[in-house]
Symmetry: C2
Subunit: 221 residues, 2 copies
DNA sequence: CCTACCGATCGGTAGG
DNA sequence: CCTACCGATCGGTAGG
């Protein structure tokens, strides 16, 4: 992203509107992670930011768009804080573990004050209809699909039992991550993520191939 | 509960107020399971029931109490639809499986149109403060504690590996139930609960004692 | 249970 | 980005 810097010495470097827009979305993500996207109102956001209601409104033109942009911004945070570090590991079992650890770390670090944003909106919009529901559904399919891919790859590399159903196993890894997020938030205890870590470990342990080959050396007869 | 029936031939048998109160809570549970307790307003409920706003208000005296009573009513439904049938099985491993199956059946049957009410409010209030947060936290501790008890009993009966950490294992069983509920609701696909069923089966399988004794007959040397 | 009302807040518009 | 405003809805009260 090139920076069209101006020389006129104003206190702001980037486009004022762009920066304000991003600041509004930042506050919106924080608020919505705690109270939900349904509680996100233009007026509250304006009060929180010390500007007028229509000052916020002008950036989005409708509450619907504010909610959609907030969700999209949160998905970008998820991408940056979970997927990018998780995908740094070599593909297969290592990447699967790395994705799980990246998720738990993201919960522990309190990236969102109300816990994982995707988990928040999953529960909020699962039973509703409309564009937010659809966006949540497609986001979760992507996330589950990513895990599934790595299960398949790990099977190809003989790191996981070839008899596993990839979608089923991805579900079994995801489940403790999700519940650890909710319980850590509910009890204000970030160490509850260790339950998730242990669950992932145990789930993977029982899914290793019968004859494990972790190096290139063939097993003894 | 004795029935103080009246003979004056009115179309209603029980106390009118009692019955109306229960009908309001019924509608409130349906609505809140879909949109959350935070979206539950007296006015909407009144419109839905075809009565005046203050007609609903009179039954609760504050929105706070309406929300609290709705949560309590939903916990009673959970008790009736999950705990009671689950606890019918003999204690130990059988009861643990029975509780898991009762939960999944309750999701499949669509007892609440928006999926499991407890899962809904867990995500909604995990990051908030106040009496609703506290009620949710205590409800989940009870539910997890119930599972934990049965893990301990199953260990005593040599039905589960004595090395298991009961709280950890209860968490591992609960996690796929919770996620199955959200995904079944999100994708409007009640068969997704089968993923939960398979996860529970696999989790229990790897937690059986090394020398399994399912009858009173001692294992061979 | 009702009507009628209170002040506050909602999403959104007009006009600048 | 602002003030000023719209009709609708909010929780809650008064009086019956």
């Amino acid at each position: 992203m090139t920076n069209g810097e101006r020389d006129d010495g104003g206190p702001r470097r980037r486009s004022d509107g762009e920066q304000t827009h991003a600041q509004i979305l930042d506050a919106a993500m924080r608020l919505a992670s705690i109270e939900g996207l349904g509680s996100l109102t233009i007026g509250r956001l304006a009060r929180e930011l010390g500007v007028s209601k229509s000052g916020v409104f002008a950036h989005f033109r409708s509450r619907q768009r504010l909610q959609e942009e907030t969700l999209r911004a949160a998905e970008e945070v998820f991408q940056r804080e979970v997927l990018r570090p998780g995908l740094d590991a070599p593909e297969g079992l290592a990447r699967l573990k790395s994705l799980c650890n990246a998720y738990l770390s993201y919960v522990e670090r309190g990236v969102f004050p109300g816990g994982c944003f995707l988990a928040q909106v999953l529960a909020e919009f699962d039973a509703q209809t409309g564009p937010l529901h659809d966006a949540v559904a497609s986001g979760h399919k992507t996330w589950l699909g990513l895990m599934e891919e790595q299960v398949i790859t790990a099977q190809r590399l003989n790191e996981l039992d070839p008899a596993l159903h990839p979608q089923q196993f991805a579900f079994e890894l995801w489940a403790p991550l999700e519940l650890a997020n909710y319980l850590a938030t509910l009890h204000r205890d970030p160490t509850i993520t260790d339950w998730g870590r242990e669950a992932v470990r145990a789930t993977i342990t029982r899914a290793l191939p019968r004859t494990q080959v972790s190096t290139g050396v063939p097993p003894l007869a």
